[in-house]
Symmetry: C2
Subunit: 241 residues, 2 copies
DNA sequence: CGACGCGTTGATGAGATTCAACATGTGTGG
DNA sequence: CCACACATGTTGAATCTCATCAACGCGTCG
């Protein structure tokens, strides 16, 4: 089960967290960012495969990822699923439910992970006193819209090879922004999950990886990826990257 | 060119507008909704084909549609476009730019249309004093996220026939909610635009319309659509509708 | 060890795109 | 108000991309 971890006085807080530059306090003055500390009173530890929240659960909190990787997805009545995002440390998940008072998606940990609990009650009331927080929330949501629309563009207009290339470039950039290597990383998600996210089958994804490897763009060993020729990968990705 | 129309004291205002139930004031107490009236000081008239804003334009305002239909789309460096939404009266367009201070998409009128100008400066400052407006903005943005994610699901998992059926059912429902007929309406967008939105070619859309007509689900005369057998259409749409 | 999850690879086929020709509608200028 | 041009829509045939079905390899875990 999920473990709830209460924070003590000497725990790392938002104001001292290295992820601040990606997370909720982005772009807030130090003084305002300090107020975030009141907000986060506990964390949740998730084992791989555990869910953080499920579609239509009550929306008690949104969550900032401290470490680990999550996926969020929608589900159809007939069981078909669509993954709507893979989420890295510093990202906030659950925002898509803010307007309806219940979660609009399901979130699952792809590896052992830890998230900061941000209770929506406290978040809204603090936001009412803190315009900079308000703006930041807006910014996060509108960025999520942009991001989803970029995916629409990808699913709507791009072919398989292009989609996978864009996926890899963008993952690489997000990891690099967080201080990880941009050229060598571990895919926390399965071929099937990548395929689902990109609107492809797992076989197609596997074949494309093989093809990229054969042409010398990537080196692949199971989930371990190394981008050998970033320029070529960007070329495959088309005019996005 | 776009015509700017200043509002006079006796113009219809938010508090007296019939679209209130879809637009910005949704779910706000009458007293708070009254404050909206200060916000909208002018409207803009658009001829068919005119743009309301373009990608990366400065974000001076967001817009509530008073009458007409707009499309919003993204554009790639190589000219490929992806339509991200068709917008009906009562909907707010431009919210996707709120986080970046510039527009994240381009908006074009599909027919002669009129929109209410909502200056973002005034909107933010009013929102800071009016928690109910703040919440409404959140709600609108998170609904847009949900909507885009629904489209991701559609593009990622559904086949052509299903997508078009879902499109028609959802358009029908949105029109019905606005007091129009749910079974007979005019498509303001071309086959090409529908195809682009759904990730299909215009030929495929045309063929599907013909097939739906032949099987007795629809009657089609150019842009005039009549849904003859809604139950069958919902069946084609799969487990969404 | 055997079972199971995950990934790879090949053969085949379906669904959608592309190319092309034609039909119909719409708008403009004479 | 008609004629012509151009945009939009329809339909057919060939083609291609990707999905499906299937077999098999590898690694992990009870």
């Amino acid at each position: 089960m999920t473990k709830r971890i209460p924070l003590t006085l000497d725990s790392v807080r938002c104001s001292t967290c290295g992820l601040g530059q990606f997370c909720l306090p982005v772009g807030m003055a130090a003084e305002d960012a300090g107020r975030m500390d009141e907000l986060v009173q506990q964390r949740v530890r998730l084992a791989r495969g555990e869910s953080l929240f499920r579609f239509e659960d009550g929306l008690d909190a949104v969550y900032g990822i401290r470490f680990g990787t999550l996926k969020t997805y929608l589900e159809l009545a007939d069981g078909r699923q669509q993954i709507t995002g893979f989420h890295l440390p510093g990202e906030i998940v659950g925002l898509d439910g803010l307007g309806r008072n219940s979660h609009a998606s399901t979130a699952i940990a792809l590896e052992d992970s830890e998230v900061c609990v941000i209770p929506v009650r406290d978040l809204s009331s603090l936001a009412n006193h803190l315009p900079s927080l308000q703006r930041q929330l807006m910014r996060l949501m509108s960025r999520k819209i942009e991001q989803d629309q970029q995916m629409l563009l990808s699913l709507g207009t791009m072919r398989a090879e292009e989609r996978l290339a864009v996926f890899l470039v963008s993952l690489s950039e997000r990891l690099a922004a967080r201080g990880y290597s941009s050229s060598a990383f571990v895919l926390r998600m399965s071929r099937e999950e990548i395929g689902n996210f990109l609107g492809l089958t797992l076989e197609t994804v596997s074949r494309l990886f093989s093809r990229f490897a054969k042409s010398g763009v990537l080196r692949i060993q199971q989930k371990q990826v190394e981008i050998v020729d970033m320029a070529a990968l960007r070329r495959l990705a088309g005019p996005h990257c």
